[in-house]
Amino acid sequence: MSTDPIILEMRSITKEFPGVKALSNVSLTVRAGEIHAICGENGAGKSTLMKVLSGVYPYGTYSGDIVYQGEVMHFKDIRSSEAAGIAIIHQELALIPELSITENIFLGNEPTRWGAIDWITAKKTALDLLARVGLRDDPDTLIKNIGVGKQQLVEIAKALNKSVKVLILDEPTAALNEADSQHLLDLIRGLKGKGISSIMISHKLNEIEQVADSITIIRDGLTIETLDVVADGVNEDRIIRGMVGRSLESRFPDRTPHIGDVFFEVRNWNVQHPQVAERMVVKNSSLTVRKGEIVGIAGLMGAGRTELAMSIFGRSYGNFLSGTMFKDGKEIQLRNVAEAIDHGLAYVSEDRKALGLNLLDDIKRSIVSAKLTKISAGPVVNDSKEYAIAESYRTSLRIKTPSVDAGVNKLSGGNQQKVVLAKWMFTDPDLLILDEPTRGIDVGAKYEIYGIIQQLAAQGKGVILISSELPELLGLADRIYTVFEGAITDCIPAETADPETLMKSMTSARKKVQSI
């Protein structure tokens, strides 16, 4: 272990949300001038921890102490943590596209003279800061006119302007290409030389291995271990073991799969980002689904899982470039969602509130909303049929509500998800794509939803299950595809899959897909 003085210590931080313990007794020690990586699966609690540190969750909403430069801190918001010298750079950049680099650097912190903004000082300082982060653009350039990589540098410049001592970077390279990532990592190393500590959250383990001095691994809201990269001889495998190393409890209903023939297939699927044409979000991906099979898709956030799924579902994401799709032996073209539904596809979105439900609507209307024609005579919806159908799903899926007339906004997350599942089951799909179907749902409801998924498979439907939780994939899927940077990197039968091999394929483009 290095002997540099400890600059920051988070002691037994516990943070609870209604019904969920996001962090439980998490501790973190950061030394002056080190790069400290925080690793963990999606949902492990990394971002929550950083939000506690930066004052997004103010003092009093968590228990435990933040000791910074020897003092217990009581941050009440981001401003107070910034004033102390802790700055956070979020995954989604907080820059204003229509303002210039200078204006963004000094936003909320403008140098003034006689009450007016002193643009001369601002620009001079901006030039200074830009030189420190290695950005040679004119400080009057608008943010929207520079790339994401440079924007990231502007964010850092903004933090440096606040004489930061601890810099928190949440997935700093997630949206960057190789060269920009490298530049950013070099910069972080350079800052370390000037005594600035960085806390870095990243899914890219090779980068962590490359720059981090120590690594804290968080799993399920608990600190698992803190590793010293040099002393402990850490490599990617070691980190992965820490991230996933847990036993699979029996949290899945029993099931004997009855798998039929391949009935759905996607070949060489290519999709562009909807705005940035040069960015490929799905690269030459192929997959097959058999009747009665649960096919898992594993990938880290931003790997392109959702993009793949939505582009299959009636091209509802991105610009479709090329690829073919077959169902029941025939080639099909799904140009919009209505056609996808007609061909027996269903997509349950990962974002229940934004994409899955109309929160203003009631339960019965939500359940029938994706296939109104099924209960209509011509253009007229039959209310009593609607009610009867909603009632039957309420019973069969055990949706906890006093009445199907109740608004969906009054349901808990798990019950909302059941409504969404009911909505898609009502469309009689042959293939259900379930994107993070248990996100934000408590354990009991998860078990029920697992049961529903297995039932659907037992009825001979194909299920594509996208999940960030590896245990969920291992517990449910018959076969798992791994996705990395928009491409399918592997296809592993469930019997031979384990968290380590999955995580390897999810973090690198190692293998070609085996044909099956």
Partner: protein, 442 residues
């Protein structure tokens, strides 16, 4: 969880009299406001408000605003706004008037022409809104200028008279038929039909509820509801039928009534209606459910323009001529009616009947103040305040997790009875997204 412990017993049943489930408590409140305003003016004007002449006048004077409100509520539910309706009304009016004067077009064909003009204008505006993606505010702001100017170009900024036959849609009444009874027989018949329909509808609703196994309100509630409604219907019928000789229920009122029934049905019972709510409530979710949101937006905008041209024609028929100032600031009256009637600015919420009640609130207010001799300047101030307060109370209540002022009052009284009721909406609306664990994957 809140519905589980929703108020039981008399209070809820009482609400059911006016269809008040949890979803339309707001309308319940605005309906009571309407009744209160009518009674207030009835008192202040010494009975003039509910006199035959005034009631007939009220209907024919405000029917076109209410027709606009029907289209406007659909536009607003879909998440848009239409500022051009007044200008479209004026444009359609001048086209129709000119066609009848210059080409001697028979008036039924002229009405058809007016509707076609409305449809074409609507298609134009709908195209920009739905397929190009220009915000409806901008498209219809442009339309407001374009069609107003168009009116003045076609009419040379002059007034164009319309023939007698045409005026029936604006100033016509149900004709006198049958034996002399001292009342207008057709109006009496219409009243009877409506009164019978009220009974029939309630009876059917109870039957459907029974079939579906949901527990209907106690019988006394239904009976009370039917008796109350029919009392209002019969009272109104007698007033409308017993007016000055030659007057009775206005034709424009009948057109309005048919439209209200038709569009209530469209919005509540058809796939298209569902799609309008879905697009306004959550466009992305609607699209991922297979709703063709562009087509919905196009049709909603187009429909608004057709209704605007109809309103314009009724107005022209009533004033026996089309002029350059027709329809001035109608859009504001229509929009106000819709929002007083419970629609949400952000879309997804609103009803046709609510908007009609909202429009009637404005109409009665306007009419009552005029009867009292309040100047137009002050009437405007009062109308502005009413709009602000009605929506303000609604917004404030929503931020407090309560449905409406009436909801608030009834809630207070029941907290004693049901102390266990949890705050219904607060947990979801009060929690910032950033604080939801589910949305914070690291």
């Amino acid at each position: 969880m809140s519905a589980e412990t929703s108020p039981r017993g008399g209070l809820r049943d009482l609400k059911k009299i006016f269809g008040g489930g949890s979803s339309n408590v707001r309308q319940f409140g605005i309906l009571f406001s309407l009744i209160a305003i009518i009674l207030l003016f009835q008192f202040l004007t010494n009975g003039l408000t509910l006199s035959s002449g005034n009631l007939i006048n009220l209907v024919s004077q405000y029917s076109y605003i209410l027709i606009l409100a029907i289209g406007m509520v659909m536009v607003i539910i879909a998440g848009h706004i239409d500022l051009s309706v007044g200008s479209i009304a004026a444009f359609a009016g001048i086209v129709v008037a000119t066609a009848m004067q210059e080409w001697n077009l028979p008036w039924p064909l002229a009405i058809l022409l007016g509707l076609v003009v409305g449809a074409l204008i609507g298609a134009w505006q709908g195209f920009w809104v739905a397929y190009i993606g220009v915000p409806a505010f901008i498209v219809t702001l442009a339309g407001m200028l374009i069609w107003r100017g168009g009116n003045q170009v076609i009419g040379n900024a002059n007034t164009v008279p319309v023939p007698d036959g045409f005026t029936v849609i604006g100033s016509g009444y149900l004709p006198e038929v049958g034996p002399f009874t001292g009342y207008n027989n057709l109006t009496l018949l219409l009243g009877l039909v409506i009164a019978a329909a009220v009974v029939l509808v309630e009876w059917r609703a109870r039957r459907v509820q029974k079939i579906m196994g949901s527990d209907p309100a106690p019988l006394w509630v239904s009976i009370l509801k039917v008796v109350l409604l029919d009392a209002v219907v019969i009272y109104a019928t007698v007033l409308f039928a017993g007016g000055r000789a030659g007057t009775s229920f206005p034709v424009s009122g009948i057109i309005l009534g048919v439209l209200v029934l038709f569009y209530s049905f469209i919005t509540r019972n058809t796939i298209f209606g569902r799609h309008v709510y879905a697009v306004g409530g959550n466009k992305l979710a609607a699209e991922l459910s297979g709703v063709k949101s562009r087509r919905v937006n196009f049709l909603v905008m187009m429909n608004m323009s057709i209704l605007a041209s109809l309103a314009g024609m009724i107005f022209v028929a009533r004033s026996v001529a089309s002029g350059p100032q027709d329809g001035l600031s109608w859009e504001l009256d229509a929009i106000a009616a819709v929002f007083i009637g419970g629609a949400a600015v952000s879309g997804g919420i609103g009803t046709v009947t609510g908007s009609i009640v909202g429009g009637l609130v404005m109409a009665v207010l306007n009419n009552g103040l005029q009867l009292l001799g309040v100047g137009a300047d002050r009437v405007q101030i009062i109308k502005g305040l009413v709009l602000l307060i009605a929506v303000g109370v609604d917004v404030w209540n929503k931020s407090q997790g309560r449905p409406s002022l009436i909801g608030f009052l009834t809630r207070k009284s029941k907290t004693g009875e049901f102390p266990s009721e949890p705050p219904a909406v607060i947990p979801t609306s009060g929690t910032p997204d950033s604080a939801r664990p589910s949305d914070n994957p690291s």
